[in-house]
Amino acid sequence: MIPILQVKNVTKRYGGLTANNDISFDVAPQEILSVIGPNGAGKSTLFKQIAGFVTPTTGEVIYKGTKISGLPPHKVARMGVVRTFQETTIFKSMTVRENVIVSHHLRSKASLLGFFFGSSQAKADEAEFGKSADDIIDFLGLQAIRNELASNLPQGHLRALGMAIGLATQPEVILLDEPFAGMNHDETMRMVALVRRLRDERGLTVLLVEHDMPAVMKISDRIVCINFGEKIAEGSPSEIQANPRVIEAYLGSEDAAIGM
């Protein structure tokens, strides 16, 4: 299997502080891979490095054979690797539908000047975006709130909208930053099902950073565990659960009590 995404010896140092050190792993196409680790282990930094928000000090990220580390976020997104955010990040004063439509930016074929003068290509684009936005809204079950202002939405819907924004860019790899944070059991199970559908119905490769161990064990094909910025284990959920280094890293922490 040729990996779709490769993280190779990625290291980030902020002055004397090492956020992560020499991390390597491969992601197979249409795989659901979780990155876990205690707070401050360097998971979010790793995501930022993949999505182009942070350039690795050394090492590189390869997507489909092309180096993407060092590119700005909009170029990484253009290539098909898109990140959703830890906080519920949306465009607050737009409606749900407007949020999704504007996020189709990458797919526009008309130039900005074309949009200004209302060229036929621009009109075709707008029509296509509207239709595709409605598809995504239906896929995520947001029909009832499509014309709500995003700032009025409850937490669960915000998370779904964040995902809709990500989907609108038509990524091949989607990075989900703590998709289950702050959710109760039922909400988490619904989100787990949704993430599976992203892969099964839309053919996406999913990378996620998460603290919720039961959810991670349930959803992941493979897991990478990071502690103090270093990769300490990689494998299937059952391998990770049995790995002595992982158990040690989590020992005494709340996550261990919940998850393992």
């Binding site: 999505a51 928000f53 700005p72 976020p73 909009h74 997104a77 253009r78 898109v82 990140r83 959703t84 955010f85 990040t89 949306i90 465009f91 607050k92 004063s93 737009m94 407007e98 439509i101 504007v102 996020s103 930016h105 990458l106 526009s108 008309a110 900005l112 949009f115 200004f116 209302g118 621009a122 684009d125 707008e126 202002l149 924004i165 990500g166 609108a168 860019t169």
Partner: protein
């Protein structure tokens, strides 16, 4: 069903919008000149011309607000545009009508060079840098030989004839019986075109992307928007408007000095936008009209003019933080 009702509602609102635009054009191009001819208040032409031009510059400031940046530096571009036009006319004999777009383009170019580094700043940091820009422009005009220092450039000829293929489109202003009216009409046309362009920007994809930038730059980048490019583009358009307005002001006063546009003007442009409403395309136009006219009318209060004016401004911002135009929304029962 919903689509149908939506399109009906849209059709209705576009009819009212068209009626509104027509009424506005009628007022600007027919009613105002008729009113002035009847009352003989020719001085109003000067005031209204100023309002139209200031609102063009304010439209630019509004666009930078629209991408989430507080711009207190439009005076710098108005001054630059004015000097470009004045220098081209007096030293190179270029027609005023050609210097007009050139002044705008020159300002847009300068703003790209300045904007690339400073548009990375946000909030108060960007605002402070732009505040300094006006002062930098003034000092540059004082220092450069081509701008003739503190003496400025004076006795600039009035706009000449504009003709295409021998056909006169605009007559020589010097031959006109009433150049005040001509300047008014010119400024009004420019204002209408500017706001048409601005309205089109805001309602096209470009405007939607600007809004995404205003609300969340990081998310905007992660959905693939080249945020650096878009910021510079919006700032360049903004400065283009500033340069245009500056060039026409120079043509009217037939002179320019380093102090023709100062920090106070830059602050005013920002205030016009605030007062009119940052969420409304026509906010800066209304804001300019109210503030400029308000200031003029308050001159009857003599030494209390500034006191009353500032008091009214503070009160307005407290009562209507989203601008005067937000009154319309309240009346319409919208949130």
């Amino acid at each position: 069903m919903t689509d149908q009702t939506q399109s009906i509602a849209q059709g209705r609102s576009s009819t009212t919008r068209l009626a509104g635009v027509l009424a506005f054009l009628l007022a600007v191009f027919v009613l105002v000149p008729a009113f002035i001819a009847l009352t003989g208040r020719w001085d109003f032409y000067y005031t209204l011309t100023s309002v139209a031009l200031l609102s063009v510059a304010a439209a630019g400031v509004w666009l930078t607000f629209y991408i989430g940046r507080i711009n207190i530096g439009q005076g710098a571009y108005a001054l630059t545009g004015g000097y470009v036009s004045a220098i081209l006319i007096t030293q190179y004999g270029v027609s005023f009508w050609l210097t007009l777009p050139l002044a705008g383009l020159f300002c847009a170019l300068v703003s790209v060079v300045i904007g690339l580094p400073i548009l990375r700043l946000r909030g108060v940091y960007f605002a402070m840098v732009t505040l300094v820009l006006t002062e930098v422009a003034r000092l540059t005009a004082l220092a450069l030989p081509v701008t003739n220092g503190a003496k400025g450039i004076t006795s600039i000829p009035l706009p000449g004839e504009l003709s295409i293929f021998g056909l006169t489109i605009i007559p020589d202003f010097a031959t006109l019986a009433n150049p005040k009216l001509a300047f008014y009409l010119m400024a009004a046309v420019l204002m209408v075109v500017t706001y048409l362009v601005l309205w089109r920007i805001v309602n096209s994809r470009l405007g939607h992307l600007c809004r995404s930038l205003q609300q969340n730059e990081e998310l905007s980048a992660s959905i693939g928007v080249n945020t650096a490019m878009l910021r510079v583009l919006a700032y360049a358009i903004s400065s283009f408007f500033g340069g245009l307005a500056g060039a026409i002001f120079v043509a009217i006063s037939q002179s320019i000095y380093p102090s023709s546009f100062v920090v106070q003007d830059s602050v005013n442009f920002m205030l016009y936008c605030f007062l009119g409403g940052l969420g409304y395309v026509f906010g800066p136009m209304l804001g300019t009209l109210l503030l400029y006219f308000g200031w003029d009318l308050l001159s009857v209060a003599k030494q209390y003019q500034l006191l009353i004016y500032s008091g009214a401004l503070i009160a307005l911002m407290l009562v209507l933080p989203n601008g005067v135009l937000s009154l319309l929304d309240r009346k319409g029962g919208r949130k």
